[in-house]
């Protein structure tokens, strides 16, 4: 969030109020940048208008990659590079490979998923970004409205926030 952006912040102290307020504010034709909350609120992302995440697709693809990598490694080592007869079994002993393949799938899914999540949300160790209002990690719910991206005047936005139950309206 660059400091030159002009934000109006509506501060709420209850999750139901902020969820309700999102609807009210949007009904007045105001575009909401985002809502910052101390914990996830079900339905808030939909109310604000965020698109459904594609993380599950990413997770599936990483899982598939993990499975392919594990099976390739095992079949390369056990069948092609140095085949050995073990317990009289075929070189290509697929049932015996299921455990390691499974673990590989899980490992790739987990790390791929978390990495994708961090990249898509711009989360990285040492990231100096702070919330617009630091009380959002404690007990306050903050609706941020970017004045520059709205046709509604700043005064009207402030009024709309107040009317929707904000306990404070701040400019940042």
């Amino acid at each position: 969030m660059s400091s030159t952006t002009n934000y109006i912040l509506g501060v709420y102290d209850d999750e139901d109020e902020v969820l309700h307020a999102v609807g009210e504010v949007k009904a007045k034709g105001i575009k909401i940048e985002d809502v910052f909350t101390p914990f996830p609120i079900h339905g808030l992302d939909v109310a604000v208008g965020h698109e459904r995440t594609r993380l599950p697709i990413a997770a599936f693809m990483f899982g598939t990659l993990g499975m392919i990598c594990a099976l390739s490694l095992i079949s390369y080592t056990m069948v092609f590079d140095w085949p050995m007869i073990i317990g009289g079994k075929d070189f290509f002993a697929l049932p015996n490979w299921i455990p390691v393949t499974f673990e590989g799938t899980v490992l790739f899914t987990a790390f791929g998923l978390v990495t994708t999540f961090c990249i898509s949300n711009d989360l990285w160790p040492g990231n100096p970004t702070l919330p617009l209002d630091i009380r959002t990690t404690d007990d306050k719910f903050v609706m941020a409205i970017n004045v520059d991206k709205n046709k509604v005047s700043a005064a009207d936005i402030k009024k709309a926030l107040k009317d929707s139950g904000a306990i404070e309206v701040n400019v940042k």
């Binding site: 209850d14 992302d45 080592t77 998923l113 978390v114 100096p128 990690t137 007990d139």
Partner: protein
């Protein structure tokens, strides 16, 4: 709002806490000076750790000849301790993943410490795996790395190699799951920080978290998927550990019941260990409003269920040993119950099968002292279970001339002590420097379940429903 909670449900957070109270109560021990109790407890665990580290160093230096192993009993305390710790390490992921999938909200105030415990327990388990290799500095030989002796690879058909993959995947995925759960709470501490050091370190690890609704929505999906893949993962880990035994041809080990039996035992002992730690943590950190009698009771119910599964598995094993008609198999079991290690067998039976049945009484399962005592009894029993499976199956070989007994040396005992030192040192560090309760998750389940809920908020909730 979105959650409809039945009024007859017990409250998950008592004492009429507000969101800000939750933040304050949990951050208190992170931000304050260490208490005297903490310093004493930490000091003792450090001493235990140092003594254990000496014993482990000596074991590494001299080799595993310092253990009491002999030609007949080639696996004893090392593998017993390994399986015991891995089993304990199952509860954290089970609580956070399986209970998340089942939408059990009571998990929220205990999942953080249970997951931390899991990670430390798996590290303890790993210490025995390394030690029992004899040459721990060659541990990387268990990985499929191209090596100096031509392209000889690890044997992917072997359960011991599966175990390497299972344990390392489990450790790293659990660590990841735990860390991602910590991020929002680390941000809370960052935003409350009054010292530059705290602001820097908690800021560094909180990844620039702001709590935007978009991030939260993705975060919820990520948690759900991680839970979805961790559930089969946690089941696979002890299944694979059991296959270390089950794919052998030793009477008493070569049984198909092992995977479910080991998994049930793992959940059983893991929950007991979580219970032990929770009962201490809630008193030391004054978290009685977050870890309530209800939580303790739920844990005890899971212990009873899994304890009963374990009990049925013991009886089934015995029945099958007779029903199979294999005389070696029958002998292995008769020897367990009536042979020279009868005391270990009956110790296991009493602790694991009889003691959890006491929890059928509500008075007992809601009694803190009894719960604490029984949670330790269960883990004593589970240690003996592994000892019985490993040592009594080995000590009477096919040839009576090679029959032997096992007696531990001070290094067997010292290496076990090491694992306790490691476990408690890490746990106390965690309890001091990280929030022991997942604040964000607890806040998300408080509404409608917190007592003395402010009237204004109740009204707002009603307004939204309309």
């Amino acid at each position: 709002m979105s959650h409809v909670v039945s009024p007859i449900r017990e409250k998950l957070v008592t004492g009429g806490k507000s969101y800000s109270d939750v933040t304050h109560d949990i951050c208190k021990q992170v931000e304050g000076e260490p208490t005297k109790e903490w310093k004493i407890a930490f000091g003792i665990s450090c001493l235990v750790f140092i003594y254990g580290a000496y014993c482990l160093f000596y074991t590494w230096w001299q080799g595993i000849g310092v253990w009491g192993l002999n030609k007949t009993v080639g696996w004893a305390w090392d593998i017993t301790n390994f399986v015991w710790w891995v089993g304990i390490g199952h509860a954290g992921t089970l609580i956070s993943a399986v209970l998340l999938l089942f939408r059990q909200k009571w998990r929220t105030s205990i999942n953080r410490s249970a997951e931390a415990m899991t990670i430390f327990a798996v590290l303890c388990a790993a210490s025995f795996i390394l030690a029992h290799m004899g040459r721990p500095w060659l541990a990387h030989w268990a990985l499929p790395l191209p090596n100096a002796f031509g392209s000889l690879w690890v044997n992917f058909n072997s359960p011991l190699v599966w175990d390497v993959f299972a344990i390392s995947t489990y450790l790293s995925v659990s660590l990841l799951f735990w860390y991602m759960g910590l991020v929002p709470d680390l941000a809370t501490i960052r935003d409350r920080a009054t010292t530059a050091g705290r602001k820097f370190w908690y800021g560094f690890f909180s990844l620039g978290w702001t709590g935007s609704s978009k991030t939260w929505a993705r975060y919820e999906y990520m948690s759900l998927i991680l839970a979805g893949i961790s559930t089969p993962l946690v089941l696979s880990v002890h299944t694979i550990v059991s296959m270390d035994f089950a794919t052998s041809v030793i009477p008493g080990w070569h049984t198909t019941i092992f995977p479910p039996y080991f998994v049930a035992g793992a959940i059983f002992s893991g929950f007991a260990m979580v219970q032990t730690l929770l009962l201490i943590t809630r008193v030391v950190f004054k978290l009685e409003d977050y870890i309530t009698i209800e939580h303790i009771e739920m844990m005890n119910i899971v212990i009873t269920v899994t304890g009963s599964v374990v009990g049925i598995a013991y009886l089934t094993e015995f029945f099958i040993a007779w029903y199979s008609g294999v005389e070696y198999e029958s002998y292995a079991f008769i020897n367990r119950a009536t042979g020279p290690y009868w005391w270990a067998y009956w110790m296991m039976m009493t602790c694991n099968v009889i003691s959890p049945q006491l929890f059928w009484s509500k008075a007992i399962r809601t009694n803190l002292m009894v719960s604490f005592f029984l949670s330790i009894v269960v883990n004593v029993g589970m240690w003996f279970e592994r000892f019985v499976i490993i040592v009594t199956s080995l000590h009477r070989d096919y040839l009576p001339s090679s029959w032997a007994m096992f007696s531990p040396t001070m290094y067997d005992i010292g290496d076990y002590i090491f694992s306790f030192g490691l476990f408690f040192t890490l746990f106390f560090l965690f309890a001091k420097y990280l929030p022991v309760v997942n604040m964000a998750e607890v806040k998300s389940v408080m509404k409608g379940v917190s007592s003395n809920f402010p009237a204004k908020k109740a009204k707002a909730a009603k307004k939204t429903e309309e």
